[in-house]
């Protein structure tokens, strides 16, 4: 019985690992191939039996005039928009979440939970519903096809995530912690940033991670709200495709696109494994 269990355990772990890692390995291998290597039959070992070339990678940094697709600028645009929007969302979202967790609001039939749900409902709506209002809104204030406009829209998209995670987190931080800080002589603001906030770092990290992921992978709004002036990475990657699918450069761009998320995951994982996240509330 236990032998079967061990076998199944390792079997599924192996299966899952292959399932997750194989596409990456495939992409790594493909990114160093050229048209010939991708389309011809393999003689000896699949994936490894080819003459490596950097063509797929070079295309990403060459200017369009030289037959490349320059993703460097969109890459930094994406980093800027994602980081700025995430940061602002975390700051505003954390403040909102703290208020929602600690104070009781009443306006007609509206209570704290309703306000929290209102935030989350922004994410429940299909994005297409928001596209026209956002388009009109940005064109009215003249921010269409600009980084700032994208930041504004992304804040709207990311803040609900921050609020949602942080409300839940603050609700699990005992309110005696704030009260103790008050008794110890802090005013409410000091109690928040000297005591509650340092205790909430694990929550902030998780919220930040989600904001970064959702900001980074968004294609829909980046596609609709920009044209020529500004482009974000996902849009540019899609634009790589043409009548002959350039598997090599698509693979290379996929790898550079997920790289920041992998880095983020490693940082967050370090925090999670330190036990900070679980032990913070007891």
């Amino acid at each position: 019985m236990s032998k079967l269990y061990t076998f199944l355990k390792y079997f599924f772990i192996t299966f899952w690992t292959v399932f997750v890692v194989a596409p990456f390995l495939w992409a790594v291998s493909t990114s160093f191939k050229d048209f010939q290597s991708v389309n011809s039959k393999v003689t000896y070992i699949p994936w490894l039996d080819f003459e490596p070339t950097l063509e797929g990678w070079r295309v990403l940094v060459k200017s369009p005039a030289k037959g490349g697709v320059d993703i460097v600028e969109p890459y930094f645009n994406s980093i800027f928009v994602t980081c700025t929007a995430s940061l602002i969302s975390i700051v505003l979202g954390t403040l909102a979440a703290y208020a929602l967790s600690r104070f009781t609001f009443k306006a007609g039939f509206v209570r704290n939970n309703d306000i929290t749900f209102f935030f989350i409902s922004q994410r429940i709506m299909p994005p297409i519903v928001l596209s026209i209002p956002f388009f009109i809104f940005l064109s009215t204030i003249g921010l269409l096809d600009s980084l700032l406009g994208l930041v504004v829209v992304y804040i709207v998209l990311l803040m609900p995530i921050a609020v949602w995670i942080m409300v839940d987190f603050f609700n699990r931080v005992p309110k005696e912690l704030d009260e103790t800080a008050l008794i110890d002589g802090c005013n409410p603001y000091q109690a928040f940033y000297k005591v509650v906030l340092p205790n909430s770092i694990p929550g902030l990290i998780v919220a930040g991670m989600f904001c970064i992921i959702f900001g980074w992978i968004d294609f829909f709004f980046a596609f609709i709200l920009t044209f020529t002036e500004v482009q974000l990475l996902p849009v540019k990657v899609v634009a790589l495709n043409s009548s002959i699918t350039p598997w090599w450069s698509l693979s290379a761009s996929a790898l550079v696109s997920v790289a920041p998320l992998i880095i983020v995951a490693f940082i967050v994982e370090r925090y999670l494994s330190k036990g900070n996240l679980s032990g913070a509330l007891k």
Binding site: P174, E176, T180, L182, I183, P198, N199
Partner: protein, 361 residues
């Protein structure tokens, strides 16, 4: 804001958590009370009786619906918590996870801008008292639950000039041995620094051994304030009789038969209470099991019971017997021989308490 320890007056305080309701339910019914400077008080009562609300009102975490709080005759009702100079310790350890033990203990002093030397001196003193000296540099979150509670306690005691230290069942999570020592430490601190200590508990032994004055509460009402001895011997209501002492006070339905006598079933019991204006009324007779004596034969003020159970507690025996359908418990010395079957119990008149409408006559 440098208040010294103060006399605390609670004047006509009452509190409800749903003030907008047409029929608000009161967590605390109107009461007035004075906490003298430098005394030890225990607030005793079952869960949900308003003990914590009372503390939170004093520390300013809750603003009372009605009434006024005065520290040394100065009204502080509108003063915020951080300006009140009160220390409060909660039931469960509240520590600043991101700081070391030293920083935790120093935090209240830093917030109030004490000098570095003073902070060092006080943290050292408090950590010595609480056996925390060897942990000062470790992160507070690494400690065990009872050590964390010691930190909470330490933060309460680190300021010498507080108006009062309020403790909300602070020793629940601490093991019995340390509990005993800490209670003694708290007593010493109180005697040494003359800090007013207010201690909320639902454990009567804790209250009895710790406090000079005990405040018994029930359902938002202060039922009795007094010395441990008074609460034990002359409980003002049947609730106090039930709540304090182990086993609870024996309480019997009875009828007043003359100026000083009541009848339980058909037995007449003489008491020292004046029952002149309660003739023929239904009252309750209360007597502690400690005061009931074994009588060798039937005489005045004895009741005949059928013994149903004898429990040996080591230092005493607890007899449980029945008189009709009434259950009577009596504590007797362990050495005393217990006759089988029926026996007579003597109720000393001076120890009998008569309750009309649950209140002591």
């Amino acid at each position: 804001m440098e208040e010294q320890m103060a006399k605390i007056d609670l004047s006509n305080i009452s509190h409800t958590y749903n003030p907008l309701d047409p029929k608000p339910t009161y967590a605390l019914n109107p009461f007035s009370m004075t906490w003298e400077n430098g005394k030890r008080y225990a607030i005793l009562g079952p869960s949900g009786c308003g003990k914590t609300t009372m503390l939170n009102i004093v520390s300013g975490l809750v603003r009372p619906s009605k009434g006024e709080i005065l520290f040394d005759e100065t009204p502080v009702t509108d003063l915020k918590t951080e300006d009140r100079n009160i220390a409060q310790v909660f039931q469960f350890p509240v520590i600043y996870n991101t700081m070391t033990v030293y920083d935790n203990l120093a935090f209240p002093l830093r917030c109030r801008e004490f000098t570095k030397e003073k902070i060092e001196e006080r943290v050292k003193a408090v950590s010595d008292t609480l056996n925390l000296s060897s942990f000062l540099n470790s992160p507070a979150r690494k400690l065990t639950a009872d050590q964390k509670q010691l930190i909470s306690l330490g933060r309460g005691l680190v300021r010498e000039d507080v108006a009062a230290v309020l403790m909300d069942e602070p020793l629940t999570v601490i093991d019995p041995d340390l509990k005993f020592r800490l209670r003694r430490n708290l007593k010493e601190i109180n005697e040494q620094y003359k800090t007013t200590l207010v201690y909320v508990t639902h454990d009567q032994n804790e209250a009895m051994t710790f406090a000079e004055n005990i405040i018994v509460m029930d359902q938002g009402e202060i039922v009795q304030v007094g010395l441990p001895k008074d609460l034990f011997e002359k409980p003002k209501t049947t609730f106090v009789g039930y709540f304090i002492g182990s086993p609870a006070m024996n309480i019997f339905h009875s009828t007043v038969s003359s100026d000083h006598e009541v009848k339980i079933n058909d037995t007449t019991i003489r008491t020292n209470s004046n029952l002149g204006n309660l003739k023929d009324k239904n009252v309750k007779l209360g007597i502690r099991s400690e005061f009931i004596e074994l009588a060798e034969k039937e005489k005045s003020n004895t009741v005949k019971i059928k013994l149903t159970r004898v429990e040996d507690f080591g230092n005493f025996k607890l007899l449980t017997g029945k008189m009709g359908d009434l259950v009577i418990k009596s504590k007797v010395e362990r050495e005393k021989p217990i006759p089988d079957g029926e026996l007579n119990l003597y109720f000393p008149p001076e120890k009998c308490c008569v309750y009309s409408d649950e209140k002591l006559v």
